[in-house]
Amino acid sequence: MEQNAIYELLAGALGDGALGYNEHALEPWADVAPAKVVEACRFLRDDPRLGFNQLMCLSALDWDGLDEAGKGKSTAILGYTDDGQPETSDRVGTGDLGVAYHLYSHALRHKFTLRLRVPRDVAAVPTVSGVWTTAAWHEREAWDLMGITFTGHADLRRMLLDDAWVGHPLRKDYVMPGTWNGVPLQGQPYCANPFPVETGGPDQPAGDKPAEG
């Protein structure tokens, strides 16, 4: 089924919970209200015309530094100073957080993308692990790395990081700790190439210049 037809069905079922549809994008998506996301997912899964039985991917997003049109400059990632100390910053992120759901139907062979945005300071989204069980682990990972609370989740613990870790690293305003359990977390800045290469050699394709800054 066409993407805009799917959105029309969804908007008809959700009413004012469907916030809009972006059809000019490379990959069209529908915006839904966070409070209505479970209802939307259940409709998308159970309606026989849609039949989205697989949640392909659940991504946590941080829109800090990006405007509505997707333009802007990504925020610089804090690294380490030349003497190996972590850079510090007082900057507080202001952008929204978000979640993207990528759905697929095995029977009807079509895809759909749902997105929602939540304010940064009260980042809570209802869990969809009751609709697709696979969401349980995706949501744990999203909580761990991005700090989005999934209300109603049965087991919302850290997944990849240590249980005692502080902060959520994928947020744009995350600051690396200098040490962890007494172990210094020193390293090269992310952007610097520790092995600068000369370009233009016989086997070297022209594109392998070291990154700038």
Binding site: M56, C57, M159, G207
Partner: protein, 399 residues
């Protein structure tokens, strides 16, 4: 341990009470035992820790504990440019890095709107399928090893070595290749008879080696007893838990990204998707997942043969490719059938030369979740069979 009586009698699953609650032997007290399987355990295929609650030999609860290999590669992706991050994708599924390269460059090309020369696509398909064979060989070998069969391991590693040699000749790396770039591949096919050598290897694999594995392992009575009817994942559970790849197809769901969500040039080749059919027991048991991988090796051989026999002349990189890759602002999700299943990338670009956000959906991560359900009520030794048949690789689970 495919003995029917041991599994059906798994006590307490219906009533909520187990051996430890019952007065089987008066005067002897029993209780649930918490057991760590891993992180250093030969049957967990990497640094995976399974926290088990067992009652005797019966598993009551499985809790996978992840993160021992976590590098936060998604954060690193926000700091390095599109070409530089290819090298990190090698480290996801380090048993089939070409497939991971392929998944990532496909995603970046979709975002950029970059076209790829036909010759590059043929080379990509050939090396991805070689990588898939290497990964499946490890899967067969270590699965046999988990089941107590030592010899097939040595046979499978012998053939894998041949593949590593072939891939070293084209890319320069033995195990981690960094071979593909957005818009093509880094190096052309070497002119030292590489294509003919690959075709020879593929023939040997298909006609000599696979029948050898079948004699040694596949139709071995002991192996079948250990794996048939064990760890059954039905089709509904597999889809609900987001299983993909050989795990999904082993459960009888007819889906393969290469055919149903086509990318690259897979549509040009003649091959078949392999499904588990419950030949030795129930559809979706460990033996089905094993045989799907074994038969996929054969299909990969067919794809490689066609891709290289039809290898067109022409450039192996897009000529218009700039030194620094930039993608216009936008977002796209692409998925590719890697050796373990569906490897997805959700990349959001802000118009610059680094990704604003790069989310990786790794197949092993989703496939592993199913042990929380299917592992319950099994014998501990059957749990080893289940985890072995899922063929996880921790590099892409922890990322």
């Amino acid at each position: 341990m495919a003995n029917e009586s041991t599994r059906v009698n798994a006590p307490g699953l219906v009533s909520g009470k187990g051996w430890h609650d019952q007065d089987h032997v008066p005067g002897i007290k029993s209780e649930l035992l918490e057991l760590n399987m891993g992180p250093q355990h030969p049957a967990t295929h990497g640094v995976l820790r399974l926290l088990l609650q067992t009652d005797g030999e019966i598993v009551y609860k499985v809790t996978p504990v992840l993160g021992y290999l976590h590098r936060c590669a998604e954060k690193i992706a926000e700091g390095v440019n599109y070409k530089q991050w290819v090298v990190y994708t090698d480290r996801f599924d380090y048993l089939a890095p070409m497939c991971c390269n392929h998944a990532y460059v496909t995603a970046v090309e979709k975002l950029m709107g970059q076209s790829v020369p036909e010759r590059a696509e043929h080379i990509r398909v050939a090396v991805s399928e070689l990588s898939r064979i290497a990964s499946h060989l490890i899967a067969l070998a270590t699965f046999g090893l988990d089941m107590g069969a030592w010899t097939p391991l040595l046979y499978c590693f012998r053939e894998r070595e041949e593949i590593l040699n072939l891939l070293e000749r084209i890319s320069g790396g033995r195990m981690l290749y960094n071979y593909m770039i957005p818009g093509g591949v880094r190096y052309d096919v070497p002119n030292d008879n590489w294509v003919a050598d690959v075709l020879d290897f593929v023939d040997l694999m298909e006609h000599n080696k696979l029948p050898e594995y079948n004699t040694l392992l596949t139709y071995n009575k002991i192996f079948i007893e250990r794996t048939a009817d064990v760890g059954v994942i039905d089709a509904k559970t597999a889809v609900d838990y987001g299983c993909t790849g050989p795990v999904l197809r082993g459960s009888g769901v007819d889906f393969d990204c290469r055919r149903d969500d086509p990318y690259s040039v897979y549509h040009k080749f003649d091959w078949q998707v392999q499904l588990g059919r419950g030949e030795m027991g129930t559809t979706g048991d460990c033996w089905d997942r094993y045989i799907v991988r074994a038969r996929e090796i054969e299909q990969s051989c067919r794809i490689i043969r066609q891709a290289l026999q039809q290898l067109p002349e022409g450039p192996y990189q897009a000529l218009a490719l700039k030194a620094i890759v930039k993608a216009p602002a936008g977002a796209a999700y692409t998925r590719v059938e890697s050796a373990k299943g569906e490897l997805g990338h959700y990349i959001i670009s802000d118009g610059g030369q680094t990704a604003f956000r790069n989310k990786v959906r790794s197949p092993s991560f989703c496939n592993l979740q199913v042990v929380e359900k299917v592992g319950v009520g099994q014998m501990v030794s059957d749990l080893v069979a289940l985890v072995g048949s899922l063929d996880i690789v921790l590099g892409e689970i922890d990322r």
